[in-house]
Amino acid sequence: MTSVRPLRPPPTEPPALHVRAMDNLAFIRNTMEAAGSFTAVSGWGMVAIGVLAVAVAAGAGQQASRAMELGIWLAHAVLSALVMLWAIVRKAREARMPLLSGPGRKFVLSFSPPMVVGAVLTLVLFRAGLLEAIPGVWLLLYGTAVVAGGAFSVKIVPVMGLCFMAAGVVALFTPVSLTQWILGAAFGGLHVGFGITIARSHGG
């Protein structure tokens, strides 16, 4: 006896209305996340850390040892991170924008790895006694972090990252006596300049 096989597969139940509605809402959310950019990068926060960097550059230049100079810059990095975090949270709250969903999460995930690498390399270079290479490495990796994170932010952010990377290359190939000035000019000048532009163009 032969078995009859239907040409068409048996009709399946169409998805329920609420399933389709949820699917549509998920589609809208995903599209918005993919299309959105992280606009909570605070221009005024950047200006603040830039001004701080200029003051640090002046103070660090008067230190007796290279290790002390770098220590001051490290303290500046920690303080800057706190100032920037506060400024970003404030801007995001004002704009009623979720901080760690969609573009914000992608920004953090892209920004963090080069910063972690920078911290590890600082330790390695310090232990190897290669202190003169540290400023250039900082600038290069901070620039890399900004370029990577900036891919999910407004267009000017990755441009700023490229400028930091260029400053890092210059710092690695210039005499040690000039690296403090390059650090000051980059962390100070670039942050203040781009910060003002971002604050004016993207609100705060």
Binding site: A16, L17, M22, I28, T31, A35, S37
Partner: protein
């Protein structure tokens, strides 16, 4: 075929909402809005523009992963309904088409979101 399916869904959705006592803005208008935005490509265009001041034709094409022809057809339908506005200009010698969401488009998307949420609420409460 898909179009008919979408229209049938809308009718079913409206019936469900009516039976649940949810009153929406004039039924005829709501049906038209639903059909226009319900289509995936157009829903995607409107959603993408809702989180950006404006997007270029190539940005939208990349985002939606579609062809020039398909995007133009759907964008034109949204333009005709005045849900999006189109600005054409030149960047050097290259033509540049920029789209932005209008107030009507934004409220249509909000109505659509309300519609979907109401549908989920109604079926969950049953």
């Amino acid at each position: 075929m898909a179009k008919h399916g979408a229209a049938r869904d809308d009718t079913r959705a409206h019936n469900t909402l009516r039976s649940a006592g949810i009153r929406r803005a004039p039924a005829k208008r709501a049906e038209e809005l639903d059909r226009l935005i319900h289509e995936r490509m157009r829903l995607g265009i409107v959603s993408a523009l809702a989180v950006n001041d404006s997007l270029s034709f190539s940005d939208l094409k990349k985002l939606m992963g579609t062809t020039d022809g398909n995007l133009s057809v759907h964008a034109r339908k949204l333009e005709e309904a005045e849900y999006i506005a189109c600005t054409k200009s030149f960047e050097g010698r290259m033509p540049r088409t920029q789209y932005r969401l209008t107030a009507a488009g934004r409220s249509a998307l909000e109505r659509y979101l309300d519609h979907m949420e109401a549908l989920i609420r109604v079926t969950r409460d049953r």
